[in-house]
């Protein structure tokens, strides 16, 4: 008998999404400003329901298609909070730049559902369908900018390339399905353990490689990263933040589960490839970021760099490294949201998103400049900010597996990244601005930004409780391995 209570967060969040879209139909135009509040309160309710019913449960649905464990629970909570924060940072932007707020929030909530499903899926087809649900939502959101060709252009590029990537992934899934005979991760592992790994034939390799390719597209790892800068630049800014944090985290959740419970027995075969991809990704991301002059593009390349760091953890394949990945996802997520909140606030009042537009920001709005500086320092991995603690944990975990040179490269890359973050900071504090009017922001956006900055410090200075939660989550992931 299927226990549908295990699905309650997914059911309620679906209802919420329809509710928001429905409310949009009936609300008068001047009342649409309540939509973000409906969405955020709804998300908090879903969060409460999830914590109430599922905390600490270790079960599965439909014979292993969906897994309810500490790992999926961690990501559920992470995605719900992330969604809440994205709704909060969106609300002023949406008011000015998006035509249909109801659809925007509704689809945003659907994408949270998709991410929750991705983290919980224990099987390839489920993973694929939730991945597609996520992608579809993101295609729409990316293309939803009201004015400007950039948003549509970004949408076209994203959907065409995304569809190619998912076709590859699907082909890979069909190969695995045919040759291994199952799509469930745990069963796949059993079959692969039984077979001699040197007996892997070309078809199976093709399957694995195609799946890796499809997921690498999602996380924007080199050489599947080329869509990222264009799409990041063109998308509405809150969606850029969401892409950089949410869709990446969801894809990593899937990768971690799939690699650890599906393909761990043939680890030697794919490990070297991931090492090379990780090294290329971080180096290319950080080097190319040096030459950028649009802040969103710069952050796109910086996020590519961060994907490189995270991939090192996948290579290491230990509970410790997985802790590191999850921790860094949280630290990077908080920091990135703060950074994008600054970008959105500046864009709302000046319409600039090039680095030159940041000139003299320190005099025009000291708080905004300081928050941006904090966020950038955290991205660069300076101590006492979230970025340091999480990165350090990740690097240590990877070094523990003997990949010292890779960690060395990552630390060197952090140095390079400091250089281009300092360029932005220099621009804010030194370069004179042609426009010196003092910028005034609403109390609302200032307090959202304040909360995010506090989070940056909190994760950086007192990561203890967070680390404990994450350690439990990653242990539950490794409990599937026989």
């Amino acid at each position: 008998m299927t226990n549908f209570w295990l699905f309650i967060p997914e059911f309620t969040i679906t209802a919420l999404a329809f509710g928001v879209i429905g409310a949009d139909l009936f609300l008068a135009r001047e009342n649409k400003k309540y939509l973000p509040w409906i969405s955020s309160i709804g998300l908090i309710v879903v969060l409460g329901i999830a914590l109430n019913y599922l905390l600490g449960k270790q079960e599965n649905l439909y014979g292993g298609l969906f897994l309810i464990d500490d790992f999926s629970m961690f990501f559920k909570v992470f995605f719900l909070i992330l969604g809440l924060l994205v709704v909060l940072i969106s609300s002023e932007y949406v008011k000015n730049h998006i035509k249909h707020p109801g659809e925007y929030y509704g689809i945003l909530i659907f994408s949270i559902l998709a991410m929750m499903l991705m983290a919980a899926s224990g099987e390839l087809l489920t993973a694929y369908i939730s991945l597609e649900l996520l992608s579809f939502c993101l295609y729409v959101l990316v293309a939803s900018g009201r004015y400007g060709e950039k948003s549509t252009e970004a949408g076209v590029k994203y959907i065409l390339l995304g569809a190619v990537a998912s076709a590859f992934m699907l082909y890979g899934i069909s190969q695995i399905y045919g040759l291994v005979g199952t799509t469930k991760f745990a069963d796949m592992n059993l079959v692969l353990v039984a077979e001699n790994s040197s007996a892997l034939d070309l078809g199976l390799i093709m399957g694995i490689v195609f799946i890796i390719g499809g997921l690498a597209f999602k996380i924007a790892a080199v050489p599947f990263h080329m869509w990222a800068p264009d799409v990041y630049e063109g998308a509405p800014t809150p969606i850029t933040a969401y892409l950089a944090v949410g869709s990446k985290a969801a894809a990593f959740a899937l990768i971690l589960r799939m690699m650890s419970s599906g393909f761990i027995s043939i680890m030697e075969d794919w490990q070297m490839v991931i090492i090379v991809i990780a090294a290329l990704t971080m180096t290319l991301g950080n080097l190319v970021a040096l030459a950028q002059n649009n802040i969103k593009r710069l952050l796109a390349y910086s996020s590519i760099g961060h994907v490189g760091y995270l991939l090192m953890g996948v290579v290491a394949m230990t509970p410790l490294a997985f802790d590191g990945i999850m921790l860094h996802l949280v630290g990077y997520g908080v920091t990135n949201l703060a950074c994008f909140m600054c970008i959105i606030m500046l864009y709302n009042s000046t319409g600039r998103d090039d680095v030159a537009g940041y000139a003299g920001l320190a005099d025009r709005s000291p708080f905004l400049a300081m928050s941006m500086a904090v966020a950038l320092f955290s991205l660069a991995g300076l101590p006492f900010f979230a970025g340091f603690t999480t990165k350090f944990y990740l690097f240590t975990a990877v070094a523990n597996e003997g990949l010292i040179w890779l960690v060395g490269l990552a630390i060197l890359n952090s140095l390079i990244s400091l250089y281009y973050y300092l360029m932005v900071i220099k621009s804010m504090y030194i370069d004179p601005s042609e426009d010196t009017t003092v910028l005034v922001f609403s109390r609302y956006s200032l307090s959202v930004l304040g909360i995010l900055v506090v989070f940056i410090f909190l994760v950086g200075v007192y990561p203890g409780p967070l680390v404990e939660l994450i350690q439990e989550a990653s242990q539950s992931l490794f409990s599937y391995i026989p």
Partner: protein, 101 residues
């Protein structure tokens, strides 16, 4: 006719689709090429499930899912492409390079 033949058919169809994605300049034709790739996957899935006893036809179920997802994808992509056509008056992807550096 054996499984290998179907696999070759599927791989060929996939490659033709991929060639179309790389060679075509019209967004709509690229989309059609992607459909070819997805149909190659369907052939692969159905062939596997038909020729392998132990798979018990689950491949056909997966294929139905794939067809559904593909339909949704085409609908969405066409909507965005129409949007592109409205703003640019063209669906030629050579012309969409506002963002490139």
């Amino acid at each position: 006719m054996s499984l290998v033949h179907f696999q070759i058919l599927s791989a060929a169809l996939f490659s033709i689709g991929l060639y179309g994605v790389l060679a075509r300049r019209s967004a709509v034709l690229i989309l059609l090429s992607i459909e070819l790739m997805l149909n190659a996957v369907n052939i692969n899935l159905i062939a596997f499930s038909a020729y392998t006893e132990s798979l018990a036809s689950t491949g056909q179920v997966i294929a139905i899912f794939v067809i559904t997802v593909a339909a949704a994808e085409v609908g969405l992509a066409l909507a965005i492409i129409i949007n592109l056509f409205r703003s640019k008056g063209s669906v030629d992807i050579d012309k969409i390079d506002v963002m490139r550096w």
